[in-house]
């Protein structure tokens, strides 16, 4: 049995974690971050690893410091990424996972989590609307899920590539919008497809892929001897939160016999909402979907589902290596429960559990309400931006991304033109620096399509209120009004 001191150490640490990393970290009166430069922080942390160990009390101090100087992503004023907030049930599942250290190779190793993953996948597949079912896996992040889609699409078109490699195949081409996530391009590089064979389809003003442009590009690639095999549509783009028109893209893919993948890592949550699911109209027609419940649905990091409509074990056939020390064929149970060979990973964490437990606790109805509530809040923020002097929307939001410029008083009378744009471009980085150093909030910004830097607010957590939205705008003004 674990030594008594082990249990005492864990008990003490957990008390501290609850106090510092949960209670304080989510307290709106506390800082989101305590900024230090890398040089300062190195000194504060004493990072060096030495021959002798340190006493327990010192280690607890170090834990306290690690928490203190970390960004509080569960803080109500953290809006910097596409995830935020604290979901207590999911956190409990994380804690259990850590203590048990399971790994999802085989049913005998992870009976409970194998079945839970299966149950969550089935429910997600049902939500997507594939009436005949499908297959899937939880992955270490959405980038990996998107890579799986590319690999399955390639394998369906050219199964011989698995053995012979890309040099035995024609030049393959994948299509995705200019607003898509960078993981498509990273995957193409890694997979030997090549980033130049990722054809970037223009999007319209709202950030949605233009179907006619997609059709033209497919024709043009074909005429140059390239072989189209997949289209990636995005449901909820990273910056603008735009939804590509899946139904129209599906028509084009059917016509051209192309695999249609939807990167719904960020936007998939609308499928939980009867009010908003039309944003993904046509999703039941696609071949595969990436969907990260750790984003809008607030499961703990990481929780990334990859879903595929195929029912012919494509996932298994595409990825399997049949290691005999793990996937013995003379076992005493139904081997279809050994899911490990579907994955490119060997050890794999039971991330589905973090979603399963919160879903059990909240029910589908509460998940739906959360999504609706977040989008209402985004709407409120956009309205406030429209009303306030010195704020300007980049566009009307249709999802939870609210993109806007803050125009300091000194720029308000300048006519739009290169000088104004250049000055405006410098505002967001300075405001960001000031909010970080003050620790009052974290909101992202970026340049985008040649436009001046703008803020991207992302509204997720049900713990966030209208007051918090007002705070963000007040604070940006207060930090930037002298610029």
């Amino acid at each position: 049995m674990a030594h008594l001191w082990t249990l005492l150490l864990l008990k003490q640490s957990l008390t501290m974690i609850l106090e510092d990393a949960v209670k304080k970290a989510t307290d709106v009166r506390q800082k989101v971050c305590e900024w230090h430069s890398p040089e300062e922080l190195k000194e504060l942390l004493d990072l060096e690893l030495r021959d002798s160990g340190e006493p327990e009390a010192r280690i607890l101090e170090r834990c306290r410091d690690a928490i203190r100087y970390s960004v509080k992503t569960t803080h109500p004023h953290f809006f910097n990424q596409l995830y935020a907030g604290l979901e207590p049930y999911s956190l409990v599942a994380s804690f259990i996972t850590d203590a048990l250290k399971p790994s999802l190779y085989t049913y005998e190793m992870s009976p409970v989590f194998t079945l839970m993953e299966n149950a969550v996948l089935r429910k997600l597949i049902q939500t997507v609307g594939w009436e005949e079912g499908g297959d899937g896996l939880f992955n270490a992040g959405g980038s990996m899920s998107n890579m799986y889609a590319l690999n399955l699409a390639r394998y369906r078109h050219f199964p011989e590539i698995k053995e012979l490699g890309n040099s035995a195949a024609p030049r393959l081409a994948v299509f995705t919008s200019q607003e898509c996530h960078y993981s498509i391009s990273k995957a193409a590089a890694l997979m030997g497809i090549g980033t130049k064979n990722v054809f970037v389809v223009p999007s319209d003003k709202r950030g949605k892929m233009t179907p006619s442009a997609l059709e033209e590009q497919i024709e043009s690639v074909k005429s140059e001897g390239g072989v189209p095999f997949m289209v990636n549509a995005t449901a909820g783009t990273t910056v603008l939160g735009a939804f590509d028109p899946i139904d129209e893209i599906a028509d084009i893919c059917e016509k051209n016999k192309l695999w249609l993948h939807v990167d719904a890592c960020w936007g998939g949550a609308v499928l939980m909402s009867n009010k908003h699911k039309l944003l993904m109209k046509g999703i039941h027609r696609v071949d595969s979907v990436s969907w990260n419940p750790h984003k809008m649905l607030m499961a703990c990091l990481q929780c990334s589902a990859f879903l595929v409509r195929d029912k012919t074990h494509l996932l298994q056939r595409c990825h399997s290596a049949r290691a005999s020390y793990l996937f013995q064929q003379d076992k005493f149970y139904d081997l279809s429960y050994d899911t490990g060979d579907k994955s490119v990973q060997c050890s794999r964490k039971p991330d589905a559990f973090k979603f399963w437990l919160m879903w059990k606790a909240l029910g589908t109805s509460e998940l739906e309400q959360r999504v609706d509530r977040a989008l209402t809040m985004a709407r409120y923020l956009a309205d406030e931006i429209t009303k306030r002097e010195g704020f300007r929307l980049v566009m009307e939001p249709e999802y939870a991304n609210v993109c806007f410029w803050y125009i300091p008083p000194s720029l308000r009378d300048l006519p739009d033109g290169p000088e104004f744009q250049e000055k405006l471009h410098n505002v967001a980085p300075v405001v960001k620096e000031r909010m970080m150093k003050k620790g009052s909030m974290m909101v992202g910004y970026q340049p985008h399509r040649g436009q001046a830097n703008f803020f991207r607010m992302v509204v997720i957590s049900p713990q966030v209120s209208r007051q918090d939205m007002d705070f963000v705008l007040d604070e940006i003004h207060s930090l930037g009004k002298d610029l």
Copy 2:
């Protein structure tokens, strides 16, 4: 601030987790697993996700059940995989990570964990013996680290592949031993290299790659128009725990200008031991190393380091996509601390922290002692096997894998031959089934190189004693003596 009920829920859950998933799970008097068939377990767990949520007390019950029916990988009688045992400091770091939900894209998002990762990588690089330093990253598992090695090696030889894909390059060839991990082949499939371009080099009787055979294969591939670009050597093979002769392989790689990667996911721990590090003689000469501290060094799952000797930002150049919304170039701090673009993942967990904290607490000296102790224990087990009637070593161990057959009394008088081998082959699966159903322990078995199924014992945890080793042998006899 988190609601009071959230804190109460977490407190209650943590008390339960400490009791059930730590104390009970590591209690030798408890079962390692409580076996149920998938059908039975589905009923016990009530997996369905419904519209309405469930009350908190019911959710706590569900947590208790999830723990109860899970395999206890921290139990002293769990020897089924290449990881085991409970490392309390590392577990504390896991808990902190879960509560804080950090992600390692940028310094501003994860200041503490970026610096800690850096500190651990530098220390590991020093341990490997790259005097001029190097670069690296923690990954979601060793399979991904091995894939990174393939990608860097390919990129160094043919940087144009990143843009143009493999079809613009000659047929690339990678070499690895017949005993290597299956991730090499999975990576080759995914990366468009093709599994048939993974050339399997024979190993000697002890499972070590035969350097002369490697040389012959390289020549033969070249003569057929293939282009060798990488050799993967294994330090600590999965089944036998064999170490490929790195120094001799490095000579061959230097001569042929090939990237030399060492998959030391399992065996890397010997580098901590002055007594045993000779097993990896020549490691300072290689180009890259995969090393999983979550295996022999007992960091919590997952903790997988990828190290590369290159100092020209190869990792960054090979993997970067320069997403402008994440890696803005007008930030107010030194951008070299934004490590996210070195990775193929987007969200990435701060796994180095789990190793950093335990290393701080234990010191290098204690880590060394643990490795030495585990290998002494493996030696003890091998000696016992040699002494006992009915047990036969597959080979003398040089690392922590002890491979052996159990020969039930009924087979002991049979002459070696097809009949004996066939009967022997059926012993391990039945013993395994019985131990699972009894829940007394978990030990792996596999067929290997045409040999009858044998057990593979893996000794890791310092919580394991000679008594536990004796127990394993007694229990196997007791479960299998009637066969």
